[in-house]
């Protein structure tokens, strides 16, 4: 199903939660609404569900305006952050609820619920009550329940927020596989960018009631279009003036930039080409299991990079070379990705 939002505005009291939000899901299947808390993403999701009504703007499902369609009739499945399982009903009855509303026969209901129990790995738990389940189990019941009535659109509100870190990773993979198997258009809300990047086909970044950028995870990561997106994704360090950096001087004075550690190489003397690498002094070295996180003082700036686990360890105070492959130049509203021109020139030869 294709979801379009046109100029959605919503205010709560004096707080403008959404200030003219528009997007088009295209034919993407798994869309992540990503952004900091309070940015408006849950509000947007609830408006899509019909649980809130926008002050202005239109919502279209497959080209059809659904503003006046009540949630009962929108054919959506919604998974709440706190699952909202019916606490006095068994797992079976919870999942069967939507089917009961649709007045399906008992045999049909039984068949579908058993299919979903199987699909979500909940077999054997049919008779349990919600308070007898773990967080991960509750989440899967909520998911099965939302899917049971065969909705056309699935909406998930921070589905993994309440789950332990280790279980979260497993569930993420499971969810993505499940959604692809069932084949349903899904929009989920999260503030965890690692999650959005891993799970979604398309990410929409929402902050302070506006859409900052919409694109594939790679797009958003490599080509942020606003300063907010540049600083929100991954770890970022800021440089006040890049004209002092080798390979970027041609751009002129006074440009600010955001630098990602992924695009920074740190090496001992001789490991990196001196023409395009800066010299700096190591400030801090942290072993993270998967790599070394190294912070280097380059002139006035503090720049971070990663070093492979089995490389020669660095020590604070050591002199090193820092190669910046690319950075994101930012001003008030815009962001542009720039490659290290010296490096480009060097490789062209």
């Amino acid at each position: 199903m294709r979801i379009q939002a046109r100029n959605i505005k919503k205010r709560f009291g004096h707080f403008q939660a959404l200030d003219g939000v528009s997007f088009d899901s295209g034919d993407n299947r798994l869309i992540g609404l990503l952004g900091p808390s309070g940015g408006g993403k849950t509000t947007l999701l609830r408006i899509l569900a019909g649980l809130e009504t926008p002050d202005e703007g239109d919502i279209l499902f497959d080209g059809r305006r659904v503003n006046d369609v009540p949630p009962q009739k929108r054919e959506i499945g919604f998974v709440f952050q706190s699952y909202a399982l019916f606490r006095h009903m068994s797992v079976f009855d919870n999942i069967a609820f939507g089917l009961t509303v649709q007045k399906r026969s008992k045999a049909e209901i039984r068949e579908r619920v058993e299919y979903l129990l199987d699909l979500t790995g909940l077999k054997g738990l049919e008779k349990r009550l919600p308070h007898q389940l773990s967080g991960g189990q509750k989440q899967r019941v909520a998911f099965a329940r939302a899917l049971a009535p065969e909705p056309k659109l699935l909406l998930l509100d921070e589905p993994f927020a309440a789950i332990d870190a280790k279980v979260r990773k497993e569930l993420r993979k499971w969810l993505k596989a499940m959604i692809n198997e069932v084949g349903i258009t899904t929009i989920f809300v999260t503030h965890d960018q690692e999650e959005a990047v891993e799970v979604a086909d398309e990410i929409i970044i929402v902050s302070q009631g506006h859409i900052e950028q919409q694109g594939t995870p790679i797009d958003i990561y490599l080509r942020p279009r606003t300063p907010f997106v540049a600083s929100f994704m991954g770890e970022t360090h800021f440089i006040a003036d890049i004209s002092g950096l080798k390979g970027f001087a041609q751009l002129g004075r006074g440009f600010k930039a955001a630098i990602r550690p992924e695009f920074v190489e740190i090496g001992k003397k001789g490991e990196l080409p001196v023409q395009v690498a800066e010299t700096g002094v190591v400030r801090q070295v942290v072993f993270r299991g998967k790599d070394w996180h190294v912070e280097v003082q380059v002139g006035e700036n503090l720049i971070a990079g990663y070093r492979p686990v089995d490389a020669d360890p660095l020590k604070p105070g050591e002199e090193v070379l820092v190669l910046i492959r690319k950075l994101h130049v930012i001003d008030e509203n815009r962001c542009a990705t720039v490659d290290n021109l010296g490096l480009v020139a060097m490789n062209a030869v």
Binding site: G50, L51, T53, P70, P71
Partner: protein, 277 residues
Amino acid sequence: MKQFKQRSILPGFGLTMGFTLLYLGLIVLIPLSTVILKAAGSTWQEFLATVTAARVIASFRVSLLTSLAAALINVVFGFIVAWVLVRYTFPGKRLIDGLIDLPFALPTAVAGIALTSIYSQNGWIGRLFDPLGVKIAFTPLGIVIALVFIGLPFVVRTVQPVLQELQSDVEEAAVLMGAKRRLIFRKVLFPELLPALITGFALAFSRAIGEYGSVVFISGNMPMRTEIVPLLIMTKLEQFDYVGATAIALVMLLISFLLLLVINLLQWRTHRRLTAE
């Protein structure tokens, strides 16, 4: 456009709100308004004359003073009861805990005759004090005892939840810093409990001044001495002095509503303090 209510997807607002307002109006608001309208029927002078008659003022004095005394007694002992129920273990605790609500569940007339029986001259307790020349029933003292009975659950049930919610880590921090038990109580625990005590006091007081059934038997209803305001209203009604009864009722209502506002404000403030933390 400022909306009266946010459009919600849950149904039934119109129906339930409509019935609520209708029922509220019919059973509560319209009947209550009769007092104001009837009182408005007499002139200001008539009203003042009625309300400042010696007997009326005496009845207010009796009602207010006995209620005050009873509420204070309840604050002290109710606090001890709540403390003991929350913090200590002893046999029969659950039974006592359940009994606290007795004044709330027991009809006031039953309480009234039982208390009169106990405290009259040859009652179980009355006869202990009679040789000392102390009469309890048919004196303001008897009224106070009846009002203590009525008000007890209000203090205990207001303080109990607050006591229960108190985290022990604050106490532990004080202990580790060397504070003695008395100091901890005074500086750490009591300030937390004070709002609840004040609220409980206000509730007990408010209930006491309007109390009729449990007091009317034990007080003896002697005008100027043990006649409480509700009884005075009743007497005036029996004499068909509607104007007089209404005037006094209006003053009572004003006092009650004032207390209600104060109580609501107190509870709102405590709730805000606790949830902001």
